[in-house]
Symmetry: C2
Subunit: 270 residues, 2 copies
């Protein structure tokens, strides 16, 4: 495939092979969102840090497994993640990266090879695409067809580790009561990608005052016959990363994930 | 143990062996409730019917597995249930039986050997004691310490079979949001004893107008920080049995179950 020009998501949806998709992205052929691509494959959030802070971040993930479900950690200086796919290069295989300097977003780039250092460690974290796919595969309708998810800050403190700290961020999806029970059952099978919800109903108990006004995406009211389910969200480690104010850190740009070879279904624990 | 006089529940709680408990009950030594006895063992609801109606009732259970989770069915005329315990005699091993004539409760007796016919079939159905034990074992507090459970009629029709029909009856237990999610996870492992709840929150959707005024036990308001979970209830087949207006049918008296040898934990499907 000719990748000298940028492709759009419709082109890439025709391609089932995750390695081929990574190759196109690596060669600059696509810089868009990865939702809907390589259906059935795990997509991962990415965090890249200097080795000096890697132990603290690893401990932060260990202490907060629901917002920070670790799928793989690289060797220091090694940009591959062989557990997640042959030939993965975390410096180039994502369509877009956020670069943080002193905790501030300093830019969005499509490649971080020029920023990579010998002591960098890469962390791949599970994302909600995997459990959303499992919910839809069970015939349970997702609000907005898996489109815009509502995101809220909560009053719950994540367990800190070193400089990494902050409040838990949650994603919310409303369901009818019977589907809420199904969604809990289905997502409980996937602890590696946020797992079961952390809360149901009663948003005020976790510091959410207004379900209509979310903190990230605008959204209308929830249908009266539905109940909100709240999942720990991968924005939590992004926020902790900003709080840590490291001189240099890199993450995926939200919505622009690492496409791995692993099958979502392979993550099911029962 | 001398069983010429009646024992009380405190005496029987000292006895872990289910066969010994059945022996005491069979010999007339105990006619009380079985809750809290033989902890860890499955207790079963009982229905006894003439063979002529057994096929219809079996189909009713198959079509309504959540209120009617079948643990064992006897051979016609055979009062044993070897899958559930050696030496079980369903005619004598329960502390109390309800006898129905033409669908009306005609009496409560401690033994039905004199009513037993060669064509009777016994059905043992899972009961909520098993999943309540699993919830408590996980450190999730049950309302009223597993005491009085609230029971409600719903507007949901059970799937009929032959003369057996009626509305679904549910039991309700309130939990905090996080514990509600745990209770769904835990009870999902036990489909043989009612399994996951059928509904959460929003009682009006299943025809319950007033949670405070339940249909069977009086009960106060639910704490404001809790969410009601509704499980399909074993009273559903009792009601269907009454609706069928058979000339003669027998069941356990509510709360007076068959104590089996099976371990509750053995029912977990994952």
């Amino acid at each position: 495939m000719n990748v000298t020009t940028r492709l759009d998501a419709a082109d890439l949806r025709q391609i089932a092979d995750p390695a081929e998709l990574r190759r196109i992205i690596r060669e600059g052929g696509y810089a868009g969102r990865t939702g809907g691509l390589a259906l059935g494959r795990v997509q991962a959030n990415l965090v890249i840090l200097p080795r000096e802070h890697a132990d603290d971040f690893l401990r932060f993930c260990q202490r907060n497994p629901k917002p920070c479900p670790l799928l793989a950690v690289s060797e220091p200086g090694d940009p591959t993640l062989p557990e997640l796919g042959e030939g993965i290069d975390v410096r180039s295989d994502l369509p877009s990266y956020n670069v943080f300097r002193d905790g501030e977003l300093a830019g969005e780039v499509t490649d971080v090879r020029d920023l990579w250092c010998d002591d960098f460690v890469a962390f791949a974290l599970g994302c909600s695409f995997s459990f959303e796919e499992a919910i839809m595969a069970a015939g349970v309708p997702l609000p907005g067809n898996g489109g815009v998810t509502r995101i809220y800050d909560t009053s719950i403190d994540a367990a800190p580790a070193g400089p990494f700290r902050g409040r838990l961020v949650v994603s919310m999806r409303p369901f009818t009561p019977a589907n809420a029970i199904r969604a809990i059952q289905i997502t409980s099978r996937f602890p590696g990608v946020h797992g079961a919800p952390i809360h149901i109903g009663k948003p005020e108990q976790i510091g959410i005052r207004d379900l209509v006004e979310d903190d990230y995406n605008g959204a209308g009211p929830i249908p009266a016959d539905q109940i909100p389910l709240f999942w720990a969200c991968g924005i939590t480690p992004q926020r902790a990363l900003a709080q840590a104010r490291l001189p240099l850190a890199i993450s995926h740009t939200p919505g622009h994930m690492l496409i791995t070879d692993r099958l979502n279904a392979s993550l099911a624990v029962f």
